[in-house]
Symmetry: C2
Subunit: 527 residues, 2 copies
């Protein structure tokens, strides 16, 4: 790969040195191309050859495994049980739903046959093996889980029923982008049933808070938790809440949703219970989910012009040890020295957290291996050569402090004992630093001083470099009045993201109508 | 549920007491009905309403989660990386495979359309949304992973490439049985590529050994690891190995397979590398997998007439604490006492392993709750009433020692401290005890003294109660000679399971041909 040393510049002005970055496209020049470059060069995922479906490679998958495990712990801690429901949903289940749910997305993969047959030396679909009823590959599981709930719930004693599944789902997307929008994606979907609205709303907001805390604590991704406007609700929901994150190009990413479904789905799937007076009642249900889209959010929150920076809590390897092997005498001592470092780092004792360490002994040139790990975003890269070993030292590269002011790789040399003692703390520092950096950037890119549609149009005018979000006051119009606002915003390629929780009633008038406002909203371009 | 007290019997003969079991069907009377009763009454899974697909409920899913986590650790320890590949495989990928692989199973779910549309107030498949190329829901992923390997491998330096995925797969089964044979099932599939046959064979046998050790150490399920006969190979494989377990009805269950694929799939998917001389070579590949079928194996290995007995290492809850709540004063002290027990049991310290504990405070009668957990097979059920608390005691029911000789529930009363000190050890004892019991039963049910087809026919004749396995000598016929043997066995509903590893060359002649034998085989009825 490219030479990483300082580009030739005036020796009198070291501050002016130009850093030659590890990617050949920058965020500033072409954010979309930069995103694809990170996905590819950090070895996260690739096109599969199957339309709209990706292959998630080990580094990308390792991040998803960490997300799954840590979020699953929180889902279980809040009293949910995991189950598994079928991939296929009979068409008739949707037909029933459709009566209740206008605007249900209809782009789905449909299984119509169950056999192939040989013909002219090739395989074709056997026309004699047509299914009596077509099966839809689940785009989400409200219908099939609703039917199960209908079977499982008899009395108020069975409530609340709180379940979750980790699964693949398919929505036939026309334009796909890796992790952000793919035909097949992976997610968790929680589904709960309650005796009344109060219980279901508590659950809806509990899971919104679980998502907020998870995004911020684990992904180091600051988010705004709040209610979506009426026009952005999940079809059939009485209320939809989301967490919204700001990407480095200023756009919003909806990173998780939590829905209060009222009794709509209970009515369609016959989810009823006998209350303590013996009367039959409809359950109030909720659903909530996050997906592999979170990985796209992590990339666009923490990536830089050298590739990805993975927050330590979700890094498959938090520390990568690179021994400078030379294929000769001395290699075995060097390996033993590194094995010993690894042993100490991964040991659990009362004073240190165990750390996830890879000792990378694959063949390849040392510099090339280093820059591969920089692009992948391993939080700490530790190089050990014979001289380091002799001096009981290691050479340390922090992914979040990659360059010196002079534009050189910012290697520091640490004594072995100091490094072992400080490693876990350093990872924690990187985790918090990434969050603070992202939060500062987001907060700086939120405008609070735009109070009219003209101001909005001007701020988001073509040519404005990376506009952020506008936080504005509004009067919460509904129905046709809201449709008109949505139409106006659409002309500017804008959407209302959500109403943040806990804001005071604003003093400004409604940005759309000039009427007295009731709450604040975020307006932004979005993925 | 049924009264669990001793059935009325002669008081002079307490040894003769009849135990009224928690299930209303016994293994002896109807093994298939007993299996369904356990699946249902242990709350493992249920029919979903979608043909051939099941809903896996929390207790069944919790067992699968434990299996996944513990096997995944072993897969990673042996140097494999997890990835994720698409659910859909273009039909043309199979067509190419079909040239090489005769007998490829053709019962697959085929997606032909990508949209629904509203019609007459219902939803139908939109005929205008036909896919240009049909997509097959993966029945296994050799083809799509092979294509990826073809892209990823350039030189010998990229080898071995060792990957694994956890995924759902679909095979359109006509007759399904929960966990054992379902249209959709969950599994892991490992796929590796190597420079030569020796490396690929090492891998094939390594994973066979990983499966053997996992089945025995973790599932407490004794298995025979060995090579399948030629006629039972995975289509396209040069050699197929399996682990075979004996169920309590004497039938064999193939519980995992590991295949050496030679260069067949490499040739089809163009998986080539440049060797260290610069010459292009085909890779030698392997694949190996286990599935949710393992749960069926656990049920039929460890279940008894009271329901399931879950080996502690895979039990979602190893200890269930049942406080005898009365809905009055004193409940809060009792709960606090149980919370404290749980805290001590789940604490990790240098002297004790942490234990997975459920404090079950759901409404319901104490006896009913106890028998629910008996049927589910929680290893230790601990009841705590106010008197136990006052005496610093607990009442303990070991699932593996459920009944006294007098036919009563075998409750023992233990001091709190003793219980806390002994709990982890008791779980270990149960784990080992379940394995020893199953191994003894299997070994007792293997016949070594049958050396002719007549003897075989007699042993497996209709009316013989639960025949086990026959271990016999054979001359390893191939081609048509083998076909003839397979045909003869089929008439007796028998199959050759595998050739166990490590057996000495037998002295008996071949059971089929009378010719000198070269190795031993297991012959059995099978699932």
């Amino acid at each position: 790969m490219a030479d990483k040393s300082q580009k030739s510049g005036s020796q009198n002005q070291p501050q002016q040195a130009t850093i030659r970055h590890a990617l050949d496209v920058s965020r500033k020049d072409d954010f979309a191309a930069w995103y694809q470059a990170v996905v590819s060069q950090a070895d996260m995922a690739e096109e599969s050859g199957v339309r709209g479906c990706m292959v998630i490679k080990p580094w990308g998958w390792g991040i998803w495994e960490r997300i799954q495990r840590l979020l699953d712990d929180r889902i279980k801690e809040t009293g949910h049980d995991n189950c598994y429901f079928p991939l296929f949903i009979p068409l008739s289940y949707f037909a029933k739903e459709a009566e209740h749910v206008e605007g249900f997305a209809k782009e789905m993969a449909v299984v119509t046959h169950h056999r192939l047959k040989a013909e002219d030396g090739s395989l074709v679909v056997d026309p004699d093996a047509k299914l009596e009823e077509p099966l839809v590959v689940r785009p989400t599981s409200e219908t099939v889980i609703g039917h199960a709930m209908g079977r499982w719930i008899q009395s108020w004693r069975d409530l609340p029923l709180k379940i979750n599944q980790w699964a693949n789902v398919v929505r036939w997307e026309m334009r796909t982008r890796m992790f952000l929008r793919t035909s097949e994606f992976l997610w968790q979907e929680g589904h709960t049933a309650h005796t009344d609205k109060a219980g279901a709303m508590d659950e809806t907001l509990l899971m919104l808070e679980v998502y907020r805390a998870f995004a911020e604590d684990v992904l180091a991704m600051p988010v705004v938790a709040g209610e979506k406007p009426e026009n952005e609700r999940f079809p059939g929901a009485d209320a939809t809440y989301s967490i919204e994150a700001m990407m480095q190009d200023g756009k919003a990413l909806q990173a998780g949703t939590s829905h209060y479904l009222g009794t709509t789905f209970a009515d369609a799937a016959n989810i009823k219970y006998q209350d303590d007076q013996g009367a039959e009642q409809l359950c109030h249900t909720t659903s909530w989910g996050v997906s592999t889209r979170l990985i796209g959010g992590v990339i666009m929150t923490h990536g830089d012009d050298d590739g990805l920076r993975v927050p330590p809590r979700i890094a498959p390897h938090q520390i990568v040890l690179l021994p400078m092997l030379r294929g000769k005498d001395g290699d075995s001592e060097l390996l033993a020295y590194c094995e010993d470092l690894k042993k100490h780092l991964t040991a659990q004792d009362a004073f240190r957290e165990p750390v996830r360490v890879l000792l990378d002994t694959k063949p390849g040139k040392a510099a090339q291996k280093r820059w591969n790990w920089v692009r992948k975003g391993a939080p700490l890269i530790v190089e050990v050569g014979p001289r380091d070993m002799a001096g009981e030292k290691v050479a340390l590269l922090r992914r979040d402090q990659l360059w010196t002011d002079e534009g050189k790789a910012n290697m520091s040399f640490e004594g072995r004992e100091d490094f072992l003692f400080n490693a876990a703390g350093m990872l924690e520092e990187i985790q918090l630093g990434l969050f603070e950096e992202a939060k500062q950037r987001r907060d700086d890119a939120i405008r609070h001083d735009i109070t009219t549609m003209e101001g909005l149009a001007e701020y988001f005018a073509e040519g404005t470099e990376k506009p952020g979000w506008v936080k504005a006051a509004w009067s919460r119009p509904t129905g046709e009045a809201l449709d008109k606002v949505v139409e106006q915003l659409k002309a500017l390629k804008l959407t209302i993201r959500n109403t943040p929780q806990g804001d005071a009633k604003p003093e400004d008038p409604c940005i759309f109508t000039g009427e007295p406002a009731v709450e604040t909203i975020f307006i932004a371009r979005a993925y």
